[in-house]
Symmetry: C3
Subunit: 139 residues, 3 copies
């Protein structure tokens, strides 16, 4: 992983073999990033994404082990218990150009991941919500 | 719905039971937002999205009633007839991690919607274009 | 194509019959845009998108000739050999609201393309990487 900061924008290149969530969490810790929007494209050869069924409180997840383009990776960096909290969703395309996606657990880079992190001057916390069972924005 | 404004960025949390388009339109009216980019992720249990066939001038739309992650929600807030005009497209993922999408008519939140609104200092209008039958950016 | 610049943000409308990659490259050359994030939605009636298999070093691509909504178009403008270098990925939805996507080669607009270009005050180069066979961010 390598990056440059230009004012409030980080341009990040993650590399073959790196996992996006852990690499991004490490960057946020190192740089003290507390609030940011995340936007990325790239290519992976392994991904774990899922859907949380709020009604049934069940998390459906699926692992992919094949070459996939990251068509979109979107979300935010906020904080929970004073640590960076990542919430990202992805759309992934396979070799037939069909797409898959969901809440991101793991994205293992095959080629590169090109990310734009936009710092936002503030803080947003997370709090466990009993109704949905999710850690929601807490202002 | 709750939000915080940090300089030119709004961080918005929409909640279970709220509909994204009407909630966002209300926020834009209340806050006087005239030009902004919109980026969001979240989860819904009902969605109406469509495709406009310019050649045939027919709008194909489809309603989904199932748990879906919002993998991406992108677009803009502009103005038409001095009121906020929203134009958003979405990619939605189902419990098998397959994706669906299109032009957004309705998105009914099941869990949360986490939105980043980036204010842009200017104004862009909309004007009905006879050729396409759509309200296009008017500068 | 028409656009307005508001501080560091370009709002761009591309029109029926225009191709997104060549039109954007022309805009970047004309305006001297060296580093920017790109975010767009729109509608096309012809698209060429692909997936690069890093392991096999084969580029799989597919041409679509049908009405498709651009659910998301994301990526960056950087530089290579002192010229604008575009790297964009797209998710496209057909008339059944099913989605397709990948690395963008061509997007031919049927109705409109609404783009937000966010200038970033810096420069990022591209360099051919021998391992992946791709032009990666070079800081």
């Amino acid at each position: 992983m390598e990056f440059r900061r230009f004012n409030d924008t980080y341009i990040v290149r993650m590399d073959r073999g790196e996992e996006v969530m852990s690499t991004l969490a490490g960057l946020c810790e190192k740089e003290g990033i507390r609030l940011a929007s995340v936007e990325a494209i790239g290519a992976v050869d392994r991904a774990v994404v899922g859907l949380y069924d709020v009604g049934e409180k069940v998390y459906h997840k699926k692992e992919f082990r094949e070459p996939l383009e990251i068509a979109s990776l979107l979300g935010t960096v906020t904080e929970k218990d004073a640590k960076p909290y990542l919430h990202l969703h992805a759309t992934l395309c396979d070799a037939r150009m069909q797409t898959h996606g969901g809440h991101v657990n793991e994205l293992h880079i095959s080629a590169t991941c090109e990310m734009v992190l936009q710092l936002i001057p503030g803080e947003v916390d997370r709090k466990l919500d009993d109704v949905t069972g999710l850690n929601l924005f807490q202002f």
